[in-house]
């Protein structure tokens, strides 16, 4: 991604000089070709070599999660401010009085439930614990029982929050029991974003406190390929593009092709209609969305496709977003 992002590094420069951006795949040389057509006949061509790879498919459906909370991104952004930048994981849960609690999660050593024996270990070396408590009123939706708590990676959470804040979108968190993936969704008229994060499995059934679950090695989270761009969509003259978004429960989840061929043609999505939730790009040039840059005459492409069932790979094995050692 770094190489790809470096092409678009200077937004100011892009806004001033680029008229059109064409992204295509060159199968022969295994290159993704990004061409920036700039003013005064200048054309910048970037060849990014790629490799075929296998991707995990995340099977998830926000609708199947019993609990959800939704808040403006700003509220959640402010909520994570007090945590140290180096903190790896955070626990989110509902506390007494329907307050939403975020607490820093510390990896405990085995047997840490017992108060540590005073001895040579210096207790000042222990990390500071931070907790943020937010009232129910700050949330647009709060549908979860008191006592539920999930633990997930803070770094990724911060990342998606910073995007959501810049786009001024509310964030919905769909979750289930600890161990089941948590799905963070962003929605507006132009885009749908779904971020799937693994949560720690709670092995201790008696833990009452938020986040006192013992350590169970968390699965590297699957973010799918649904990282949405914030760019506005122009319309018309371009080759078809495909957006990889979530699919519904009946299909096999997010399909990602290792290589995507762009077919020039009529401007419609290629994909099974009922199963996908793509953006409606048939509408006229969308007006400016608050918080996003004004519409530019280029489109961004999400690297994925919604496949026709006929072309679907044979029997993909659905993978739940969980540690392969644990039980799903």
């Amino acid at each position: 991604m770094k190489s790809f992002l470096s092409i678009f590094r200077s937004l100011v420069m892009l806004e001033k000089t680029v008229e059109k951006c064409c992204i295509s795949l060159n199968d022969r040389s295994s290159c993704l070709v990004v061409q920036l057509h700039c003013k005064y006949g200048v054309r910048k061509t970037h060849n990014l070599s790629f490799q075929d790879c296998e991707c995990l498919q995340a099977v998830f459906n926000p609708a199947s999660c019993p609990h959800v909370l939704r808040a403006p991104a700003r509220i959640l952004g402010e909520a994570v401010l007090p945590f140290p930048p180096a903190l790896a994981e955070v626990t989110l849960g509902i506390g007494r009085g329907r307050r939403v609690i975020l607490r820093s999660y510390q990896e405990e050593e085995a047997g840490a439930q017992v108060p540590p024996v005073p001895g040579p270990t210096d207790s000042t070396v222990k990390a500071m614990m931070t907790e943020m408590s937010i009232g129910e009123e700050d949330f647009q939706q709060l549908q979860a029982p008191e006592g539920i708590a999930i633990t997930f990676c803070l770094k990724e959470f911060r990342g998606l929050l910073s995007f959501a804040e810049s786009a001024n979108l509310p964030v919905s968190i769909h979750f289930d029991a600890p161990g089941r993936p948590a799905i963070f969704t962003l929605e507006d008229s132009l885009l749908d974003g779904h971020f799937v994060l693994a949560t720690l499995l709670e092995l201790d059934p008696h833990s009452q406190d938020l986040g006192s679950s013992q350590l169970h090695r968390p699965v590297p989270q699957l973010q799918g390929h649904s990282t949405p761009h914030q760019d506005d969509f122009a319309n018309d003259d371009i080759d078809s593009y495909m957006i990889a978004m979530e699919t519904t429960v009946s299909s096999e989840g997010l399909r990602v092709l290792p290589s995507v061929t762009l077919t020039p043609g009529p401007q419609r999505h290629c994909g099974p209609g009922p199963h996908s939730e793509e953006e409606d790009n048939d509408e006229a040039e969308p007006g400016p969305v608050p918080g996003t840059p004004p519409p530019k005459k280029f489109r961004s492409m999400f690297f994925g496709s919604i496949l026709d069932p006929i072309h679907s790979p044979q029997g993909p094995s659905p993978v739940l977003a969980e540690d392969s050692d644990g039980e799903g």
Binding site: S123, K126, M129, T130, I134
Partner: protein, 247 residues
């Protein structure tokens, strides 16, 4: 042992935060001494790094609207705690827009200083941030190490120039030499000197003013133009200057 305190005034909170930031810049761990009238931050780095120590005293009623403490025993009505100074300053940093700040001694699996901040919130609901700072209780037999240092009678006392200026001068000098000579006299003159084989650099400060002498001060008989000098380690001096905020 019990301790609870509360700050409601923004200016007091600000001041307390700045003190904590200064401590955090000076040393990794510090000792907090709590007594009925005062709060002390004590650093004694005697063993490590050539003896930089610090004693900071805060009158608790200048900061806290509520302050209750109960020491180890009735005769020894004080609490000595050791904590990582950065933790406290980080906890206080989140209290920049606070309505109230509460500090108390708690025991959550291990002794902690719990800092609880109620934030001003745009919406109706309040937001509360809680920090649990782990600490070590210092046993009574070690308390004698943390007593107020006695400042010996000085030959010369002088008001320092603006610390920012001093810091930038010393910072440049650090590149040339490890040791610095500070000399001052009772005429309000202060010089900073460094000497190497190749170069000598002196920075002069004039008209600084001297604190009034006590009536029994021996230095009354001193020639006001006579300089008293000390050699210090530049890095230690810089460490001290770096910890000072611009007030």
């Amino acid at each position: 042992m019990k301790f609870r305190a509360k700050i409601v005034d923004a200016a007091c909170l600000n001041h307390f935060t700045r003190v904590s930031n200064m401590i955090a810049k000076l040393a990794k761990t510090c000792t907090l001494r709590i007594s009925p009238e005062k709060l002390n931050f004590i650093l004694c780095d005697r063993l490590v790094g050539g003896g930089v120590s610090m004693w900071c005293e805060l009158e608790q009623e200048n900061f806290f609207s509520e302050f209750q403490m109960e020491g180890v025993s009735a005769e020894n009505n004080a609490i000595y705690l050791e904590l990582t100074s950065e933790n406290l300053s980080r906890a206080l940093k989140t209290a920049q827009n606070a309505r109230t700040l509460k500090i108390k001694l708690t025991n959550k699996h291990f002794p902690c200083l719990t800092v609880s901040v109620e934030l001003l919130s745009m919406s109706t609901s309040s937001r509360i941030v809680t920090h649990d700072i782990p600490l070590k209780v210092i046993p009574r037999k070690l308390w004698k190490d943390f007593q107020q240092p006695s400042v010996p009678d000085a030959d010369v006392s002088i008001y320092l120039p603006v610390l920012k200026t001093l810091k930038s001068v010393v910072e440049k000098m650090k590149n040339i030499s490890n040791h610095l000579v500070i000399e001052a006299n009772l005429n309000g003159e202060l010089n900073l000197k460094i000497e190497t084989d190749l170069v000598c650099v002196t920075t002069h400060f004039k008209d600084l003013g001297n604190p009034p002498l006590a009536s029994d001060d021996a230095s009354r008989d001193r020639d006001p133009a006579e300089m008293a000098e000390v050699h210090v380690d530049i890095r230690k001096l810089l460490q001290f200057l770096a910890g000072q905020q611009t007030w």
